[in-house]
């Protein structure tokens, strides 16, 4: 077994750059009968019904300081992942991304090497360039010949005018306890239907929680005394007002010291938000099911999906000093 594997991957000691034949779970035949050359990155051929699955995931990051001297920051990036089961040695597929009429252009587009050609206008918009309103804003066409396995067709970044959830976080030291006050507002443009939404409030460099007397206007609060962590689960929906609050006092009188962190000392503290919203994107970008074209004889089944998720979504305590997260806001 080993010699035959070695023979294929590094016959003379230098690894070859060829995927091993036989993609899992797909019916494949090794050699094509046609005259078309088989791509070296394609490990076999698909036989059977054509199916195309395109998933668009947007991720939002944010740093909110609630402080006049510091501009809040947020950015959005999206990835389009495809799984294509299409017959033929080198089948052609086209996926088109579209933006709403006044959407801001997609920037920093990176594509998979299987994309056959690119329009130069697609690559021009860049996040590091001066924002140019007249820039190309779609539709973004990606013609490609798919490999057998799922792959990331393209990724982009986008500049959206507002963050999906705007928060404010205030801590006040009061003798033996800490007064906590939090407000979270869901922006009206965001669909009020979450898969999940949680806010984590960790407290570092203090003794463990003693008495936690905190009220929330909506959702449910879990207190983890060992980790000095408050977990505020907001569930699937914000209330009608699209605003939730948390008020209360915490004393740190536990028997042992809690977790430590060199960054979050004194009143430097943050809330980290975790959420996912199905079937929406902040940039407005979407893949229409009918815009996916497969140039082959049989009719294909196409599924598309999109969702928004958070990552590194921080809301810093506005009464403490918060670390700078990007130089752009200083300059």
């Amino acid at each position: 077994m080993l010699p035959s594997v070695l023979l294929q991957v590094c016959p003379l000691g230098t690894p070859l750059d060829v995927p091993l034949p036989g993609a899992p779970s797909t019916p494949t035949v090794p050699t094509p009968a046609e005259n078309q050359k088989q791509p070296a990155w394609k490990t076999g051929l698909h036989r059977g019904r054509a199916a195309v699955n395109v998933a668009l995931i947007e991720t939002v990051r944010s740093m909110q300081y609630g402080n006049r001297s510091r501009q809040d920051l947020w950015d959005v990036y999206g990835t389009v992942t495809c799984k294509c089961e299409v017959e033929g040695v080198l089948p052609n597929v086209m996926v088109t991304l579209t933006l709403p009429p006044n959407g801001s252009p997609l920037q920093d587009i990176l594509v998979h090497p299987c994309v056959t050609s690119l329009d130069s206008s697609i690559l021009t918009a860049s996040s590091v360039d001066n924002f140019d309103g007249s820039a190309f804003s779609g539709p973004y066409k990606f013609p490609f010949s798919p490999p057998l396995e799922p792959f990331r067709l393209c990724s982009y970044t986008s500049q959206v005018p507002v963050p999906p959830i705007l928060g404010s976080y205030q801590l006040k030291e009061e003798e033996t306890q800490l007064r906590v006050s939090v407000t979270l507002k869901l922006h009206e443009s965001v669909k009020n239907s979450f898969e999940y939404c949680e806010a984590h409030l960790p407290f570092f460099n203090r003794d463990q929680f003693g008495v936690v007397d905190v009220k929330v206007s909506s959702g449910q609060l879990d207190v983890s005394k060992e980790k000095n962590l408050l977990v505020w689960s907001l569930g699937q929906k914000f209330p009608k007002s699209r605003e939730v609050t948390m008020e209360g006092k915490i004393s740190f009188s536990g028997p042992t010291p809690g977790p430590t962190d060199p960054l979050c000392t004194e009143l430097t503290a943050y809330i980290k938000l975790y959420f996912k919203v199905p079937d929406m994107t902040l940039s407005g970008c979407s893949v229409d099911q009918h815009s996916v074209q497969v140039y082959s004889s049989s009719k294909q089944r196409t599924t598309t999906s999109r969702e928004l998720q958070s990552k590194e979504y921080f809301i810093w305590n506005s009464t403490g000093s918060a670390p700078v997260s990007s130089g752009q806001m200083m300059l």
């Binding site: 010699p3 035959s4 023979l7 016959p11 003379l12 070859l16 750059d17 060829v18 995927p19 034949p21 090794p30 050699t31 094509p32 046609e34 005259n35 078309q36 050359k37 088989q38 791509p39 070296a40 990155w41 394609k42 991720t59 950015d75 990036y77 990835t79 080198l90 920093d108 587009i109 990176l110 594509v111 998979h112 090497p113 994309v115 056959t116 050609s117 690119l118 130069s120 697609i122 690559l123 021009t124 860049s126 996040s127 590091v128 360039d129 990331r152 990724s155 970044t157 430590t260 060199p262 960054l263 000392t265 670390p323 700078v324 997260s325 990007s326 130089g327 752009q328 200083m330 300059l331």
Partner: protein, 933 residues
């Protein structure tokens, strides 16, 4: 059989040289080839048998001619092999390639290598073979590529054939053919550039497969030249030059080949695409007749991808072709794209670091300066601002970004009078890192901070506003975290080394001195303070009064002296020692003498008192120059002389300790082991004889002794350890020698190390007793090495000549019970003899060795060689009985009778000893007269 082979191949793979020490390379190779031809062996075993030839052909084929023969042999195996055993045939091709490449048969264009090339080309063309032809063709293609890579230009004549193969191939194999084709093309074009007078005609002939053109005769030229150029990349940036081939504008054929390759490049995996583009870039760079515009159609596709290697190949193209392929706008776009990629949220940190590095060495169309620290002109502070470091970056990214931004703002600071806000930001960033360190950041963040501080200072030490306040921040950080002292010292050292024009480091150390001497003292900080002050005292420009005051204060006002901590004492002395050589010593004389005297009288540790007294004496009795002379020796270029070590190593901490702590490797052989001259004391036999009468009883008693573990299992060998002739005089006196022995086979148990106190050239050599414990009585040789110390305190490692243990050295006299006299030994001899010469298969064997020998000669021989092993009485002339005992439990018995010829009747219980005893007797008697067995 296959089990044994599997084991042998495994042990070969584990350590080929060790394996071959047990046999010979020629023998093993012959066995392998024989087994490969054997029809009974399975093909999976044969694949395994090829492993040694694939992995270490140069160990097995010791000469080129042997390589040639082996290759011919393997090819005939290949020809006889049934087509269906694809695996084996593939491995045979690999083994053949390895053998031919490693024994320079390919370079010499030997017959076997030409035949093999023909075979490979034939396989690659044979698409009709249905038996898994793809695998065989793939391997053949890999072999061709390997041979071309190792011997560039080998396949130049086959360019057209290879191009055709590549174009016809529709399976995934076309990638391998494309790689081969481009490599051969590139080497062939390079070869043409090296020939004077080569031009368009030659290129055309090459591509058309027309080999009749004249340059064929010069084909081998390439091998005579330095191959390094052809093997490495030809793209050397704007300043390097590429060899060129003058063809004029008419290169239709080459252009057609290039565009066909580029058109299909999309079908290759990204890495192969990058390799192909690199080769083709080289080709186009070498042939000015082809415009780089052939690549244009690919550029957008390459720039759009997220693949590092494809982006890199466009940068290579840019470096090679500059504005003949990339306009100014393209350049701006490319740089912008690099900045985007350097901070793209979806890329991994290593990828982003790579892109940052690409910015630093961006191939500009019109570079202004050259050198490492030249940023591209187009990288404006605005554009770079997205790359400012933040505390959320990982260490490597943070430092890379800091470096880049320092370069950006350095230019800005030079140009504008308001030393940009950017610089202020960088400083703020550094202080926020400092806060994290202050709050107990991890070791990683500490190191990152100090590196960052070094980077910042090395660019902006002249901006006093920042460099001064950084100094203050650092001082207060030190007082809060004294255990970081080594980092502070390191920072000062490196700044001093890097920026000789700045006095920042001196100012910094002075500030630290002030901070320490003014600070409230806690005992846990003391050792760090002393370490720091010792470093400060190395600066001649810094006044040391406050340091001496500090020392005098701590030794008089605290319990330091009473406690008498040895380590702290050494730190104290370390400071004093540096003060003794300080240029401002005159002003310190009295207070320093007071400190030393106090230490010498009051300190609780004798060693420290002694040293302090020595320093005190030196200080008070020697003139300043002499004192500096005596003490500065320790600061020399690392050890070598004993004098340098007279002051405790710990006191003089900064001296070349590394050289003392390193084991040096001796270039020549310094020591050797020689056999000690035999001083034979003939055993006096027990007079109070208590002999068993019967042979069987004697045997029983004798054998019972072996029930005690370890009985008579060791062979003591006496050697003398002496200098070898070639040893230098600095090795005349050696100390603490530790001898290490390693076995070359598994006939013996491993030996322990042996220590010898000293070896002096003029004294008697010390004797060394090796106690060998055999598993099988066989001759052997031992590798020996020694670690020792020379007079100057350095440690050395040297190899000794191998110690050879001859067959006769494994003999021991008969370990008979002590109470026995001659009678018992004789009956034992007879008993053993009977057993060995019996018909039944006891493992015994007998043999007869005859030779012509005078009686006198025989007598000398016996006396000289057999005396310790003699069983019969020396006066017994009729029959001499000799018994060699060979641990662990073998015996060799001899009855020597003198008739017309001398008969050596030999009996043994271990037939494998017979060849050895035969050759031993041959050597013994050959000096006499004609011998025959």
């Amino acid at each position: 059989m296959s089990e044994i082979w599997t084991q042998r191949i495994l042990s070969f793979s584990r350590s080929p040289s060790r394996f071959l020490s047990g046999t010979t390379a020629e023998g093993f190779l012959a066995e392998l080839l024989r087994e490969l031809r054997d029809d009974r062996a399975t093909y999976s075993l044969k694949v395994l048998l090829l492993a040694p030839l694939c992995e270490s052909p140069s160990l097995l084929c010791l000469s080129d001619s042997l390589g040639e023969e082996t290759a011919l042999e393997l090819m005939s195996v290949f020809n006889q092999c049934p087509p269906k055993s694809i695996q084996f045939r593939c491995h045979l091709l690999l083994a053949l390639t390895s053998v031919l490449v490693c024994t320079s048969c390919v370079n010499n264009r030997s017959r076997a290598s030409q035949d093999f090339l023909d075979l490979l080309l034939q396989i690659s063309q044979d698409t009709n073979d249905l038996h898994g032809d793809v695998a065989l063709r793939a391997t053949a293609c890999d072999c061709l590529r390997e041979m071309e890579a190792c011997s560039p230009g080998l396949l130049s004549q086959r360019l057209e054939l290879l191009g055709g193969l590549r174009q016809r191939e529709t399976s995934r194999l076309h990638q391998a053919y494309a790689g081969l084709h481009t490599l051969v093309l590139r080497n062939a074009v390079y070869q043409l550039t090296q020939e004077t007078g080569a031009g368009a005609e030659h290129l055309k002939a090459l591509l058309g497969g027309n080999t009749s053109v004249a340059w064929e005769a010069e084909l081998d030229l390439m091998n005579n030249k330095d191959d390094s150029a052809v093997l490495s990349s030809l793209i050397r940036g704007p300043m390097g030059s590429v060899p060129t081939l003058q063809t004029g504008p008419d290169c239709k054929e080459l252009r057609a080949v290039l565009s066909s390759l580029l058109e299909e490049s999309y079908l290759l995996t990204p890495l192969s695409q990058a390799a192909l583009l690199h080769r083709l870039t080289e080709v186009v760079a070498m042939v000015p007749g082809v415009s780089p515009a052939v690549f244009r159609a690919q550029l957008l596709r390459l720039l759009g991808t997220s693949e590092v290697c494809l982006f890199h190949s466009t940068l290579l193209m840019k470096s090679a072709f500059t504005d003949s392929l990339f306009s100014a706008e393209d350049e701006a776009f490319l740089l912008q794209r690099l900045v985007v990629l350097s901070q793209h949220p979806l890329l991994s940190p290593p990828e982003k670091l790579f892109y940052i590095d690409c910015i630093l060495s961006f191939p500009e169309n019109r570079p202004i300066g050259c050198g490492d620290d030249a940023l591209p002109v187009l990288l404006t502070p605005r554009l770079a601002s997205v790359l400012v470091p933040t505390v959320f970056n990982d260490s490597a990214t943070l430092l890379a970004r800091l470096h880049l931004l320092c370069l950006v703002y350095l230019e800005e600071a030079d140009e504008e009078e308001e030393e940009g806000r950017g610089l202020g930001y960088l400083y703020d960033h550094l202080t926020s890192l400092l806060r994290i360190v202050d709050n107990g950041g991890s070791r990683e963040i500490v190191v990152t901070f100090f590196r960052g501080a070094f980077l910042f200072l090395s660019y902006f030490f002249h901006v006093e506003r920042f460099s001064h306040s950084l100094m203050e921040e650092l001082c207060s950080l030190y007082l809060r975290h004294t255990h970081l002292a080594p980092h502070f010292i390191n920072l000062a050292d490196h700044i001093q080394e890097q920026l000789s024009e700045s006095n920042w480091a001196t100012e910094f150390l002075k500030a630290l001195q002030g901070a320490i001497t003014d600070a409230e003292l806690t005992s846990k900080d003391l050792r760090w303070h002393l370490k720091m002050l010792a470093r400060v005292a190395e600066e001649g420009e810094i006044k040391q009064q406050s340091t001496v005051n500090f020392l005098s204060h701590i030794i008089t006002s605290s319990s330091l002296c009473v406690k008498g901590d040895w380590r702290l004492g050494n730190f104290l002395l370390g400071v004093c020692r540096r003060l003794l050589v300080h240029p401002g010593l005159d002003a310190l004389l009295i207070p320093l003498a007071d400190v030393l005297q106090h230490l010498a009288c009051r300190y609780g540790d004798t060693d420290i008192r002694d040293h302090a007294r020595l320093y005190y004496t030196l200080l008070t009795t020697l003139s300043k120059d002499k004192l500096a002379g005596v003490l500065s020796q320790g600061y020399g270029e690392g050890g070598g002389q004993a004098k340098k070590l007279t002051f405790s190593c710990i006191v003089a901490e900064s001296e070349g300790l590394t050289s003392l702590l390193t084991v040096h490797r001796a270039k020549k052989i310094i020591l050797k082991l020689v056999e000690e001259p035999q001083t034979e004391t003939c055993e006096t036999l027990n007079q109070n004889e208590d002999n068993p009468e019967e042979a069987s009883v004697a045997l029983e008693q004798y054998r019972a002794q072996f029930d005690v573990p370890g009985f008579a299992s060791e062979i003591p060998l006496n050697y003398q350890l002496t200098h070898s002739e070639s040893a230098d005089s600095c090795f005349d006196q050696l100390f603490s020698i530790r001898l290490h022995f390693s076995l070359t086979d598994d006939h013996y148990e491993p030996l322990g190390d042996i220590s010898v106190p000293c070896v002096f050239r003029e004294r008697l050599p010390p004797s060394v007793k090796l106690r060998l414990k055999p598993r099988r009585p066989q001759p052997t040789s031992l590798h020996a090495s020694a670690i020792f110390t020379t007079q100057d305190g350095l440690s050395w490692l040297t190899d000794l000549p191998d110690v050879h243990v001859a067959f006769q050295q494994t003999f021991l006299p008969l370990p008979a019970p002590e109470t026995w006299g001659r009678g018992g030994r004789l009956s034992l001899f007879d008993g053993l003899w009977d057993e060995m010469s019996r018909e039944e298969p006891t493992g015994g064997a007998t043999s007869l060795f005859c030779c012509q020998l005078q009686e006198e000669a025989l007598k000398t021989l016996v006396e000289k060689h057999f005396l310790p092993y003699l069983v019969s009485d020396q006066s017994d002339k009729e029959e001499i009985k000799v018994l060699f005992f060979l641990p662990p439990q073998s015996h060799l018995l001899m009855r020597i009778r003198s008739e017309e010829t001398v008969h050596f009747n030999v009996a043994t219980d271990n037939w494998q000893l017979l060849p050895h005893i035969n050759s031993y007797l041959l050597t013994l008697t050959s000096s006499q007269e004609d011998t025959h067995t």
